[in-house]
């Protein structure tokens, strides 16, 4: 039997994380809408251009403030426990080697950008992930950790005031909580887009674990939506010997 691309722990935590993030973001935005601003009463806030403008309701989950809070405070445990299982596995099983930033990642990322922009013909050589992916998968848990820390800080601003103060007080902790969410959402949206556009074969691989390297973006020289392009693209590959 061939080696699985993703260990079952990674596959399970991935989909649990998917559900947890969707619910945390949706319910979080519903909570935010109860006071869609950061300013302390009687003050103005410097660094958010949409103060007092609510998030569209269709992006929210929970229905009302109390309901959203109940979802948020229940799902937070799922998110944290799941995240810890993933991180512990990645650390103990060595998968972290595929994810930590290395010298040359910036150069490799730039080469990926050039490839996607048709400024470079061949797909840069890569390991399990390309350099842009690696960066995203490294930043995501970091943003997750910030989201959790800032979340605890605004949950317990008096009992755990040391944490709240570390983040600049309640107002700023709430701001960092929002910003961490934004980073997670942006990375996740790009991730989902790129999965469909560049490497749809990775969807079954995240369910069954099986992945045929022949279908990897590198092997297919795949730019976004390459797999949906008409077959004439084949002509670009070197002619086969006759």
């Amino acid at each position: 039997m061939e080696k699985k691309r993703h260990h079952w722990i990674v596959r399970v935590t991935h989909w649990v994380n998917f559900v947890a993030i969707v619910i945390m973001v949706g319910s979080g935005l519903r909570i935010f809408n109860a006071y869609p601003a950061f300013a302390r009463r009687g003050e103005v806030f410097c660094c958010y251009p949409f103060e007092h403008k609510p998030i569209p309701a269709w992006l929210t989950f929970g229905g009302w403030l109390g309901g959203a809070r109940n979802w948020h405070f229940a799902m937070m445990w799922v998110l944290v426990v799941n995240g810890l299982i993933y991180l512990a596995f990645v650390y103990l099983h060595g998968e972290w080697r595929d994810l930590v930033p290395r010298k040359g990642d910036i150069r490799d990322s730039w080469q990926m950008v050039k490839f996607y922009a048709f400024k470079r013909k061949d797909h840069p050589h890569q390991g399990k992930h390309n350099a842009l992916q690696k960066t995203a998968y490294f930043v995501l848990p970091v943003a997750g950790a910030l989201a959790v820390a800032s979340g605890i800080a605004i949950w317990k601003p008096v009992q755990l005031s040391w944490l709240t103060n570390l983040l600049g007080g309640y107002v700023w902790a709430r701001y960092w909580h929002f910003m961490a969410m934004l980073v997670i959402v942006i990375l996740s949206v790009i991730h989902v887009f790129m999965v469909f556009a560049v490497d749809p074969y990775s969807i079954p691989s995240m369910i069954t674990g099986n992945y045929d390297e022949k279908n990897s973006p590198e092997a297919r020289n795949a730019r976004p939506f390459y797999h949906l392009f008409p077959r004439r693209r084949q002509a670009q590959s070197p002619p086969e010997p006759t």
């Binding site: 009463r41 989950f61 929970g62 008096v158 005031s161």
Partner: protein, 247 residues
């Protein structure tokens, strides 16, 4: 490489049509979930989580943890919103209800009724603290009143009392608390706000005020403080907000 055209539309054994169908189902599920309260079946789990969170929150509670206002934070002043559940601002009408007094009763050796003057004779504290609203905003205000713990000592609370109910004349508004939070040094029965006597907009003649609880736990328009062996829910807690509501 095989030149079977199916290679291009087959994604892991799923053909394009199936793939789009699944995409449609997932998208529809998302749309259905938008702005919803979530599945009914989840409500039991959510209630279970709330009870467990309560245990965690009570374990995190320390009497020594004090709310401290950030240096440079401005007072909210008249920007502090006014909330009540009655249709109009609740005002204690002496001509109808007689003189206002705070009844302190329940599991106490010495049940007492305290007029506003009685409250003012107790040791006075002024706390400049944050107000943490469940909605996510905070406001800095200075609350003047007597410590709840002084009041509790005055009536000699029985050791069986583990919860306190704060009741009001704002319709049937009340919220019950755990004893620890009530006995916290920053929990006061407040009759003054920002150096003036409390106004009806913010809970006159007296209200409970503590930064260790979210705003909705701090009952305004106080009439009764009842010490109890069991918790007694509350106006917003019964509607589905967290009963503990601690900060």
């Amino acid at each position: 490489m095989k030149s079977d055209p199916k290679d291009y539309v087959s994604i892991g054994g799923v053909d394009r049509r199936e793939f789009l169908a699944w995409g449609g189902i997932v998208s529809a599920a998302f749309l259905a979930a938008c702005n919803s309260r979530g599945p009914k079946a989840a409500s039991k789990l959510l209630k279970y989580a709330e009870r467990k969170n309560r245990v965690v929150e009570r374990a995190l509670f320390r009497h020594t943890s004090m709310d401290v206002v950030r240096p440079g934070a401005y007072d909210a002043g008249n920007k502090l919103p006014s909330y009540y559940i009655s249709r109009t601002v609740p005002v204690w009408d002496e001509s109808v209800r007689g003189k206002w007094a705070l009844e302190v009763s329940g599991l106490v050796a010495n049940p007492t009724r305290l007029t506003l003057e009685d409250l003012q004779r107790l040791p006075r504290v002024s706390n400049r603290v944050n107000h943490y609203c469940v909605e996510g905003w905070t406001a800095v205000e200075t609350w003047t009143g007597c410590r709840f713990s002084d009041l509790a000592n005055l009536v000699r609370v029985s050791p069986e009392a583990r919860f306190v109910d704060f009741q009001s004349f704002d319709d049937d508004y009340h919220e019950s608390w755990d004893m620890e939070s009530a006995m916290h040094k920053q929990t006061v029965v407040a009759y003054g706000l920002d150096g003036k006597m409390l106004e009806p907009a913010h809970g006159a003649p007296a209200r409970v005020y503590s930064p260790v609880k979210l705003g909705y736990k701090n009952t305004k328009y106080l009439t009764k403080i009842v010490f109890m062996p069991r918790m007694n829910g509350g106006y917003w807690s019964d509607m589905g907000y967290e009963w503990y509501g601690g900060t």
